[in-house]
């Protein structure tokens, strides 16, 4: 400091540097304006474009509309024209964007060097390498090239087969871990059909689910949740106001079970016996439908040995419960039994239950021209593994599946994989299988590629690319077509040039089939606009195959003392969701755990085994061993350890890697349960939940009433808000006063709203440690409470409700803000000015609903996750409070459009992201100033059920009115 730099100038520089460092976030944004050279006539910068495409997250095949801003997709919403989604989407569908923009996606092709490390290569080199190996393999003999993948639509799968045939092979294996082949086997056995039926829960009065998590992961969750909400909605049935009666039979009370009247806790594997026993009750009581054509004598001998008392002794399920289910099922006009277990017997028994009560063609419908199973039979999978291990394969291409992670250990897939000289992995985020691959090819996300889907008869969806590829990826379909064309001399064997071409050809065939007279290009353009071609599928009459009754299922026996039940995670499913932070951070609605896997243990079992809360336990099955923290909860049957699938990745990107355990490693092939030994290790694990308490402590956070009371017109007595204590004159709302009506009875807890809110409002994720410190950023959450034990007869199984800012008219948050950042808008919203907020957190402290969120961290979206950010919503920095805004940007957008067109805003024109995506339409949004709005009408029509959360305690006058959950009082008809 002595030479040339005086103290004065040092201090000057230091203060300037300090000041510059102290005002981050003030760096000017892009200083350049770069116009289009030639503008795209369909793109207006600043105005979203919408493209219809399909969701590829699961096999349900929902149609979606992608909202695209400046060439990048920022939000997915259901396609209202699609009969499966009807404009709604689940949490996993919402989070598909984080698969597209995942920062860990493979960005370039890689080749594994001899030392095991990856070398980046160009696409040319990668393609040449692949072509060379394929040609050698094709010359070496038949079936030396194989393709192992998830079904990715009829056209794609056809392209894959064509590609294989160019290499002298037919070894295309379509597989995924939770494909539930037993459902199709049961349909084959009972009806001689290879397809599964569609269900109409809304046509039923009674429902029994044997392990089918229909509101979560079973078959088509969005559609099922919608139907279930209709089933549970109060309506006149046989001259009486009633709701559907439902029971869930399974080892764990998941959110599906929690929304049923009864949860029959059984050990895994006992579902079939319960179903048979219910059938016994039906047969004995003469509730077999006379039109069903069943011979009572045959049935009687079939159910012999399944007396409720006997089954009760074997399974521990009270006989009365079985009789009650039989009564409910047999006396209903329209009933439906669903099966979701891993054994065929349950599925067969469920089909029989539906058949004998005359519900085939009513609640359970088989459709004409139903597409065949897209999955290969298990024998093909086994054959492939065998061929691999016997070195009969030269090239294996894996796409869309992660067999190293999700094949059971007994399948010995890993050993077999080592015997394949060239494993080509084609995918997004490199997973465990990619770790064993020799050539890694980055392929397009389905949102970047051409696809089609045919999830059921009459539904043909088109998946069109909605944006340019994010990475240097190529579409696998295109790659297969170009390589196949390079190999074959004449173009007849490979008639398509690209996937776009192939999809177009498929739709020309569909046009011919349905006899559409338009020009083919017009037909295709219309189909693209609509998201597909949707036609009414004809129901087909099926005959029950009486030979089923000859194979009587074995009696269940007592089962193991301690059983393991593994179930697909609502968000992570079979593990594919684990790379998406939104899905990791959304709490599983019943156990409310985030970023981890956990073993649910009943308190009694925990006592016997000496397990304390969150203690790490070692689970040992004959297949493998895993150690994970125990969650002591009554939401699991005593004697059962329940573990979700989805975690336990050793690769698959930064968000998935190294958390929890892999449930597949404990299971035998095809099974989801096992006999288990458990040892408490004494080590303390950490399970993280944003949930405060299981108990509402006598406050009316979620309210419920019995359907009997509703039918009588008796509303439960409520405390009146004290007051009026008006300290200030009331607000005036000259134009609109936004509000919501939330039907708690319709909410199934699927958390689609939570994910939609993350997507729409640029919510940051904070990770496991952040949630542990109570810093979760979700503006909206699914709260769940357990009813007190002594009131269980007069309460639903669980209280489940969406909780978000109540936009109070007497908001406790507003007057405490020293800088007027929290203020009341003219349209009745509790506004939050991010740029004015200084972060005192007084508002958060004063909010009785705990829905304000403080940014403890500078939010980070590692590139290119940031490309998903909604440009209409400010990205909040550290030190700023934020909260639900009723999606003000969507309101402003609609208001400006209305103003431009010089007309008043229409009801239903402004829909927040949560209400938009709710599969059951539990959330309605509208103007409280307009009594004719759908939202206000819903309030008025359900006046007896209306309540406002904590209004009696605080006189907050929320803008959200909830409608009470409905339940059947136990022991009352």
């Amino acid at each position: 400091m002595s030479e040339g730099l005086s103290r004065r100038s040092f201090l000057k520089i230091a203060s300037a540097a300090g000041a510059a460092a102290a005002i981050p976030g003030c760096e000017p944004v892009g200083r350049e304006l770069i116009p289009y050279v030639v503008p795209d006539e369909n793109v207006i910068p600043g105005v979203p474009s919408f493209y219809a495409t399909v969701c590829s997250e699961c096999s349900a095949g929902c149609g979606v509309i992608a909202r695209v801003r400046e060439g990048r997709v920022i939000k997915l919403e259901g396609n209202p024209k699609d009969p499966i989604s009807l404009g709604r989407l689940c949490a996993r569908g919402q989070a598909a964007l984080q698969g597209l923009y995942n920062p860990d996606r493979l960005a370039h092709p890689f080749v594994r060097r001899d030392d095991g490390r990856l070398r980046r290569v160009s696409w040319d080199v990668a393609t040449r390498e692949l072509l060379g190996r394929l040609e050698t393999a094709a010359k070496a003999g038949k079936d030396r090239v194989a393709y192992l993948a998830r079904p990715q639509g009829p056209t794609f799968d056809k392209v894959a087969k064509t590609w294989l045939s160019a290499w002298n092979s037919t070894k295309a294996v379509f597989w995924e871990p939770l494909a539930r082949p037993v459902a199709r086997q049961a349909a084959q056995e009972c009806f001689g059909r290879s397809d599964v039926p569609v269900y109409h829960l809304d046509q039923a009065e009674a429902l029994i689910s044997f392990g089918a998590d229909f509101n979560e992961t079973w078959e088509s969750p969005v559609e099922m949740a919608r139907q279930y909400a209709a089933f549970r909605a109060p309506k006149e049935r046989r001259g009486k106001l009633s709701i559907g009666r439902s029971a869930y039979v399974g080892p764990r009370m998941n959110v599906t079970a929690a929304k049923c009247d009864e949860w029959i806790a059984v050990k895994p594997g006992h579902e079939a016996a319960i179903a048979m026993s219910v059938l016994y009750v039906l047969v004995r009581q003469g509730w077999v439908s006379p039109n069903s054509g069943f011979d009572i004598g045959t049935l009687k001998s079939f159910v012999q040995g399944y007396e409720p008392d006997t089954i009760s002794q074997q399974t521990g399920v009270p006989a009365e419960a079985i009789v009650r289910m039989g009564q409910m099922f047999g006396q209903a006009e329209g009933a439906v039994a669903l099966a979701g277990t891993d054994d065929k017997e349950t599925h067969v028994a469920a089909f029989i239950l539906n058949a004998v009560t005359g519900n085939l063609g009513k609640t359970v419908v088989f459709l004409e021209d139903a597409p065949a199973s897209p999955y290969s039979p298990q024998a093909d999978v086994d054959g492939l593994i065998q061929a691999m291990s016997q070195k009969q394969l030269d090239v294996l291409v894996v796409s869309g599946v992660n067999p190293v992670y999700s094949m059971p250990p007994a399948a010995k897939f890993n050993d077999a994989l080592r015997q394949v000289p060239l494993v080509v992995w084609c995918g997004l985020v490199p997973d465990e299988t990619a770790e064993h691959a020799h050539l890694l090819l980055p392929v397009h996300h389905p949102l970047e590629a051409w696809r089609d889907i045919a999830p059921r008869a009459g539904v043909n969806g088109i998946g069109q690319p909605v944006m340019q590829p994010v990475f240097e990826s190529r579409d696998l379909g295109d790659l297969m077509l170009t390589t196949a064309r390079a190999a074959s001399a004449d173009s007849k064997t490979v008639p398509w040039e690209s996937m776009a071409d192939a999809v177009n050809a498929s739709f020309q065939a569909i046009q011919k089939q349905i006899g559409d007279k338009n020009k083919p290009e017009d037909f295709f353009a219309q189909a693209l606009r609509d998201g597909g071609v949707y036609a009414e599928a004809k129901a087909v009459e099926v005959k029950f195959n009486a030979s089923v009754f000859q194979n009587k299922p074995k009696p269940p026996g007592a089962g193991p003392d301690l059983a393991l039940a593994v179930y697909p995670h609502l968000f992570l499913y079979d593990g594919r969701g684990a790379d998406k932070p939104w899905l990791q951070e959304t709490p599983e609605p019943v156990d409310q755990i985030v970023w981890d896997s956990w073993a649910s243990v009943h308190p009694e079992t925990a006592k016997t085994l000496g397990i304390s809360s969150e203690e790490v336990i070692e689970i040992q099955t004959d297949q493998g061993m895993a150690a994970l923290p125990a969650l002591i909860t009554e939401h699991v049957r005593p004697g059962v350890i329940a573990v979700p699938l989805g975690q336990g990745h050793s690769a698959y990107g930064r968000y998935a890697k190294g958390r929890g355990v892999n449930g597949f490693s404990l299971l035998a092939p095809g099974a989801l349960s096992a006999t288990v030994k458990v040892r408490a290790t004494g080590a303390k694990g950490q399970l993280v939940t944003p949930l405060f308490s299981e108990d509402m402590m006598g406050r009316n956070i979620v309210e419920a009433m019995s359907i009997e009371d509703l039918a009588r017109g008796v509303a439960p007595e409520r405390e009146k808000a004290p007051g009026p204590y008006e300290m200030y004159s009331a607000f005036k709302y000259p134009t609109h006063k936004w509000g919501m009506t939330i039907d708690v009875n319709a909410c199934v807890g699927c958390s689609a709203c939570v994910a939609a809110c993350y997507a729409e409002n640029n919510l940051a994720f904070v990770g496991k440690d952040g949630v542990a410190s109570g810093r979760i950023m979700s503006w909206m959450r699914i709260e769940r409470y357990a009813p007190p034990k002594d009131q269980a007869d007069k309460a639903p199984l669980l209280y489940i409700t969406p909780m978000l800012c109540q936009q109070c008219s007497h908001a406790p948050c507003e007057p405490v803000c020293p800088v007027f950042a929290a203020y009341h808008t003219q349209e009745g919203i509790n506004g939050q000015n991010y740029n004015r907020c200084v972060g005192t957190r007084y508002c958060e402290n004063n909010c009785p609903y705990k829905v304000r969120r403080f940014n403890w961290y500078k939010p980070e979206w590692p590139a290119p996750l940031h490309l998903q950010l909604n440009p209409d919503v400010t990205v909040r920095g550290a030190g700023v409070m934020e909260k639900c805004t009723f999606c003000i940007q969507r309101i402003v957008y609609a208001e400006i459009n209305a103003k431009t067109e010089n007309r008043p805003l229409r009801d239903g024109e402004t829909v927040p992201a949560c209400a938009q995506t709710c599969p059951t339409n539990a959330i309605t949004f509208g103007d409280q100033n307009d009594p004719q709005s759908e939202m206000m009408r819903r309030r008025k029509d359900n006046e007896l059920r209306a309540y406002r959360v904590l209004n009696a305690e605080f006189n907050t006058l929320p803008s959200i009115t909830y409608l009470r959950e409905l339940y059947h009082e136990k022991g009352r008809a």
């Binding site: 201090l11 000057k12 005002i23 289009y36 207006i44 105005v47 349209e827 740029n835 103003k899 431009t900």
Partner: protein, 170 residues
């Protein structure tokens, strides 16, 4: 020693912070912004009376008014017009060249927490000049008004438009 140095250092730091915070408003309109080509608004909008929205075509439909695509320039300055935009038109006649892009420099910027949109202002009949000044008299565009919240609100007040924070800050 410390009794003097610490307060002085503190005062200098706080002073520096204040000065910087007030002088450096990165989103304030900038004077003397050089543009890559000598484009004159005076000749286009003033002399030739080309309406603003002929080039800034998105203003009535979008948040952003839009910078005209190069194609729009070429619409008039085709190669038939002598002395037109040579560097602009060349790529259109010479296909060997990569597409030409003009990197204009911004004059007006708004921070991320201001969600201004042109559309309703155009439909409410606000003339472009009310905010941007007499652009048709300027060879090189220079800001006339500083677009800050006071400027916005004074007009909103005068016209009886909304003064709800949430309309722009969300």
């Amino acid at each position: 020693m410390n009794r003097i140095l610490i307060p002085v250092a503190l005062a200098t730091f706080v002073g520096g912070l204040t000065v910087l915070a007030f002088s450096q408003r990165p989103w304030a309109p900038r004077q003397d912004v050089e543009q890559p080509i000598p484009f004159s608004h005076r000749i286009h909008a003033g002399v030739n009376k080309i309406p603003c929205q002929y080039c800034h075509e998105y203003a009535r439909r979008s948040q952003t008014s839009g910078v005209p695509p190069v194609q729009r320039c070429v619409g008039c300055h085709g190669d038939a017009l002598v002395g037109g935009l040579q560097p602009v038109t060349r790529p259109w006649t010479d296909h060997a060249q990569p597409p030409f892009e003009i990197r204009w420099n911004r004059v007006y910027t708004l921070p991320d927490f201001v969600k201004f949109t042109h559309q309703p202002h155009i439909w409410a009949g606000v003339a472009c000049q009310e905010c941007h000044g007499p652009v048709e008299t300027m060879d090189r565009v220079e800001p006339v008004h500083e677009i800050n919240m006071g400027f916005c609100l004074s007009c909103h007040e005068k016209r009886g438009a909304t003064q709800d924070c949430f309309v722009c800050h969300h």
